[in-house]
């Protein structure tokens, strides 16, 4: 499979998918850097990403379990955010980008040209580094997604989704009496939880988080971490973080990227107490890279 930003490349991509691994079928053994087999929700095989001539990701293969938090760590420019953005096809929005290899969710090829990208992004929610609520009311921020995806038949149903999403995001108590206030009137930590509520509202299976706490103070960070810990019972959460301590605190699996390659992945405890790879060790202990 080769995907480019341009839609007309779709047929070529499809052809290559069929000659390679068939979506849903058993996938070849993991190459280097692979940890023990896990029941994968998201599965990537030999993923390369180019931005123009520059290769941002090289031959990344990884299995990401459902109902767990997987942390991607690595220095700036290592490809971790690039890979995260492959999982909901955010890279498609960059005209010069090309993605090849295979990524499946529950065995379904997410780069299949027949796949509806809007539907995919409902299944794979995303939370960004800086909280980015719409300049609308708190209620509308959460109601927007379910409304455009037609998830509620009437107002009471929509109200129910908004309330339960705010509840799950741990925000309901704080905003119950001011759902009509602007989302941007909330504090940074509350805004980030609003963004998580917004992501949850469309019932995603996977939630991508790109440094979700880096703009927050320690208390707000702890609230988000507590929330992530609760959410992992129901979602596959994939988080990019620059804070090794955060990766160690909240994730069950950790993957270390360096210069576009996935160097090592494994159980978080193993990675932080006894990494197998020298580069992983140097990075997490703060030695010269």
């Amino acid at each position: 499979m080769v995907v480019t930003g341009a839609a007309d490349e779709g047929s070529r991509m499809n052809e290559q998918v069929r000659t390679g691994d068939i979506a849903g079928a058993a996938v070849s053994a993991l190459p280097r850097g692979a940890g023990p087999a896990v029941t994968a929700k998201v599965r990537a095989r030999h993923v390369d990403v180019f931005y123009g001539d520059k290769q941002a990701l090289k031959d990344v293969s990884v299995d990401i379990p459902a109902r767990a938090v997987t942390a991607f760590i690595g220095p700036s420019g290592c490809g971790k955010s690039t890979f995260l953005r492959c999982i909901n096809r955010m890279n498609d929005t960059i005209p010069t980008s090309r993605v090849s290899g295979q990524i499946t969710i529950d065995g379904e090829d997410i780069y299949d040209p027949r796949l509806d990208v809007v539907q995919l992004r409902a299944r794979v929610g995303m939370v960004f580094q800086k909280p980015n609520p719409f300049p609308k009311s708190i209620y509308e921020n959460v109601a927007y997604g379910p409304r455009i995806h037609g998830l509620a038949r009437n107002k009471p149903e929509l109200d129910g989704i908004v309330m339960s999403s705010l509840e799950k995001a741990g925000l309901l108590k704080e905003v119950r009496d001011r759902l009509g206030d602007s989302g941007t009137s909330l504090s940074g930590g509350q805004q980030q939880r609003l963004c998580i509520a917004r992501a949850i509202a469309v019932s995603p299976e996977v939630i991508l988080m790109d440094e979700p706490c880096s703009a927050l103070d320690p208390i707000a960070t702890a609230r988000i971490e507590e929330l992530i810990d609760e959410l992992r019972e129901n979602y596959c959460i994939i988080m990019v973080t620059h804070s090794m301590q955060q990766a160690a605190r909240v994730s069950q699996r950790t993957a270390f990227f360096h210069l576009g390659e996935l160097i090592e992945q494994g159980d978080t405890t193993d990675i932080f107490t006894n990494p197998r790879n020298r580069q992983t060790q140097d990075y997490i202990t703060g030695r010269y890279g």
């Binding site: 090794m244 932080f272 006894n274 992983t280 140097d282 202990t285 703060g286 030695r287």
Partner: protein
């Protein structure tokens, strides 16, 4: 191995190792001198050993405090985490070794006026020499991150146990021969037990070094040779 980007972190880890080496040196001296005091019936040397234990205890306290501060301030990861945890565990074994040497010195004081049958010390001397070598080797293994050397210390503890078994039998024989030896021999028996325990602490340190180097515990069960708990020699 590459150095840490933050130089003061590198210096703190190096300081930890220097303190462990210093503490190890003091523990070795204490053991050697406690035995000399016993053999030569030298109460002044025994007193000096008893006094020197304070320095060992102080170092343990310093190392513990430093490790706690480093965990709080640096949040060590991977080999650094194993490093500070190893230092914490080794320091407590060395502190116990210091105590056992001190206890042996106290026994040297107690028996300093007793007449010795000449050959009575030879078994004990062999034990002490072996324990000192084990201690030196395991401290070298830590300083050099040499897991092979640590593993050999771990395996050879059985020999100290075997020596202890024979010293135990020998001392019982002296006691049976002449009840006037009982007081002396009981002290020597406890002294021998102290040295056997020191061997066990050296073995603990060997296990820590193996974990430090490889990140996993030693797999096999260690051969254990102390049979004295189930030995009974009856007076015929």
């Amino acid at each position: 191995m590459k150095e840490h980007i933050v130089r003061s972190y590198e210096e703190e880890l190096a300081l930890l190792d220097r303190k462990i080496a210093q503490m190890g040196g003091l523990a070795e001296d204490a053991l050697g001198q406690a035995f000399d005091a016993l053999e030569k019936r030298d109460p002044r040397l025994a007193e000096a050993v008893i006094g020197s234990d304070k320095a060992i205890d102080l170092l343990q306290k310093e190392i513990e405090e430093q490790v706690i501060a480093m965990i709080a301030r640096r949040q060590p990861m991977a080999d650094d985490l194993r490093h500070v945890m190893a230092a914490l565990r080794i320091t407590s074994d060395l502190e116990r070794i210091g105590d056992l040497a001190k206890n042996t010195a106290k026994r040297a004081l107690a028996v300093s006026q007793e007449p010795y049958p000449k050959p009575i010390m030879s078994g004990l001397r062999n034990m002490v020499e072996r324990a000192l070598r084990q201690l030196k080797d395991v401290l070298d293994a830590y300083a050099e991150r040499n897991s092979e050397l640590a593993l050999s210390v771990w395996r050879e503890d059985e020999q100290i146990d075997a020596m202890y078994n024979s010293v135990f039998r020998e001392l019982l024989t002296y006691m049976m021969e002449d009840p006037r030896n009982i007081g002396l021999c009981t002290h020597l028996l406890f002294g021998a037990k102290n040295i056997e325990r020191i061997g066990d602490h050296a073995t603990n340190i060997a296990e820590v070094v193996h974990y430090l180097v490889h990140g996993v515990s030693i797999a096999d069960d260690r051969p254990k040779g102390d049979e004295t708990s189930s030995t009974l020699i009856s007076h015929q």
